[in-house]
Amino acid sequence: MLLQLVVSGPALGSMYGLVALGYHITWVTSRTMNFSQGHAVMAGAVVAYAAYVGLGWPLPAALLLMLVALALFGMLVERVAVRPFFLAGSPAWLLSTIALGIIAENVAMLSFGKDARAFPSALTRKPILLGGAGFYPQELLIPIVGLALMALVQVLYHRTRWGKQWKAVAWNAEAAGLMGINVPRAVMAAYALSALLAGVAGVLLAPILNVAPTMGTIIGLKAFAVAIIGGLTSAPGIIVAGLGYGLIESFVAGYVSTGAREIVGFALVILVLVMRPGGLGGAPATRRV
């Protein structure tokens, strides 16, 4: 039992972390985020399914298409649902990103159908049995890919020009603009990356969760909880919080009951907000005057 839970926990947890990192990236650059990250998770799975299963493309081509489509989706979100409000300093992006997500979900329902479909993967065909526990190779692959991607994002952020631009925009958008940084483009790139990460999470989870228009909603919500617990401004905090959240969920489901899982998880969010409003990894909240 213990081994089973220790393996299943990080698989979902690392995906919460990956999606939460998407909230983080856009938040630190523009103090806005895409509240429909969960729908980007779903979009990733649906696009990959359509190309791989529907059109019979080879898997790498389907993945490439998914990456391009999700980057475009992120840019669309930024252009349509965020930029008009970001420039006006209005918090309406909060609602408009949710609206866009609901539109995406319904488009998926119309084009893809409401039923769940199986995403074939060689890594979920045969479980590995080990001392009373069993898991799919896919479940081992997920945290590895997830952690690798999170590390890659850190490198991108701290070591590249794009990362520097994001930092500059985050520090002071106006000054960054005056220094010749194309602020809207930098923000747009952050959104593209954010949606991309969610899409990758969707494809990785698809063989386990099945593909359905509603598959991302809960993941998006839990990823947000993880982002809050870890600290919206702290990538390492989010990564740790993601894995931790996955483990806690798994242990509560295993030793208490599946009904208690959500109660404990979200109670934790409130607890962290009270104890450390900036999240575990974040600095204590400072008020901007």
């Binding site: 409401k114 039923d115 199986a118 069993g134 099945n210 809960i218 295993g254 599946t258 009904g259």
Partner: protein, 391 residues
């Protein structure tokens, strides 16, 4: 003044027209269908529609009812929503003048409609939803009839299969966390108790739960030697996958929820050996009605064989239900709801149907035409539904 005369003339002409239309062709008898025909359960609505239509075609081909009146179907979508179900129930009766209304998959919708049928004095024929209290609703006179499964009988059937056929004594229950799961928890507790068997564990899951291994591990830990499952296709698929994942080769018996949707596609060979209950199976040797029905399905809906029949129980139940309704209308000699209801409760002629031969299928106390004696056990094998012999 002249305008008034014109208007009068026009009205007169209209009246004459109506009369002459009525005289030329006999007014059709309208049968309503209130079911989910869109969304995730659309397949169930489509299956019921096909069953009704084919039975209607057979009746109409023999000259219709009540001296030549043809049957005609009017369909409204309940969207799986109880409030919408009540609205369309009224619409079908009050605006469309339906004599009898058929119902769809959702127990919640059917329960919400129960008081409406009594109020409108219109018989309801359930073709899918299995909730025990739909027919056993405590109303007299009861306008709700059903040719489908009833959770209470299903639970009795499952309990008997587990204890008497499989010779197992330690059931673990795995139920969805909804009213439907609740209704079966009660029923299974009752009928297993009847066999002096107590579940070693009762586990629940929510819709869209990704992983059922914790629940299964707990049942395994409690020493369950078989699992009784109450789930619809998506969650049922996750259960079967999780079972394979933890490598627990436990026999699994299921309510019929896993027959709809894309269960076979979602699970592949993992579902092999999962047995579940149906009211009818189009596999195996068919009686005359079965052969005729498959032929009609092929000609009308391009169904190539039994494996192509979508949501088979919907079509089978609705087909027999429609024929019973036709007999009742003929016996009542009227399309008046109350009279048709009375006729249904006291059907004189025997009907050699698809699922069985119906001899007085309904009485004042019994509004379920099918009971556990009529169910069949089937099993998933390589993504196909195959019958199991039950003694």
């Amino acid at each position: 003044m002249r305008r008034l005369a014109c208007l009068g003339l026009a009205l007169l002409a209209l009246a004459a027209l109506t009369v002459s239309v009525g005289a030329q062709s006999k007014e059709p008898i309208k049968i309503g269908l209130a079911a989910a025909v869109s969304g995730g359960s659309a397949a169930s609505g489509e299956a019921i529609k096909r069953g009704i239509q084919i039975a209607m075609d057979e009746v109409n081909a023999k000259g219709g009812l009540l001296g030549g009146r043809k049957l005609e179907m009017v369909i409204r979508d309940d969207e799986g929503n109880p409030a919408k179900g009540v609205t369309i129930a009224r619409e079908l009766v009050e605006r469309e003048k339906a004599t009898v209304v058929f119902g769809g998959l959702h127990t919640t919708v059917a329960l919400a409609q129960v008081p409406v049928w009594a109020e409108l004095k219109t018989p309801y024929m359930g073709a899918w939803a299995a909730g025990t209290n739909i027919t056993r609703n405590g109303q007299t006179p009861n306008f709700v009839f059903r040719v489908s499964a009833n959770d209470d009988y299903v639970d009795k059937y499952l309990a008997r299969y587990a204890v008497d056929v499989m010779r197992k004594g330690k059931p673990g229950l795995l139920l969805e966390n909804t009213a439907w799961g609740q209704s079966n928890e009660t029923g299974l507790g009752k009928w297993l108790g009847d066999k002096k068997v107590k579940p070693v564990g009762i586990e629940k899951f929510n819709w869209n739960d990704p992983d059922m291994s914790p629940q299964l591990l707990r049942l395994k830990g409690a020493g369950a030697d078989h699992v009784i499952l109450v789930a619809n296709a998506p969650e049922g698929a996750q259960v079967v996958k999780s079972r394979a994942k933890i490598g627990w080769e436990v026999p699994m018996i299921s309510h019929w929820g896993i027959s709809g949707g894309r269960f076979a596609e979602l699970t592949g060979d993992l579902s092999d050996g999962v047995v579940f209950v149906q009211t009818y199976s189009f596999f195996g040797k068919q009686n005359e009605r079965g052969q005729a029905l498959l032929k009609a399905l092929r000609e009308k809906y391009n169904v190539k064989g039994p494996e192509d029949v979508i949501a088979p129980v919907g079509t089978a139940n609705a087909y027999d239900g429609m024929h019973l309704v036709a007999l009742a209308i003929e016996q009542a000699g009227s399309t008046e709801g109350a009279k048709v209801r009375d006729a249904l409760e006291s059907l004189k002629s025997e009907y050699k149907g698809l699922i069985k031969t119906y001899k007085q299928p309904f009485t004042a106390e019994q509004h379920d035409a099918l009971t556990d004696a009529d169910y069949v056990m089937v099993v998933w094998k390589h993504g196909k539904i195959v019958p199991v012999d039950v003694k």
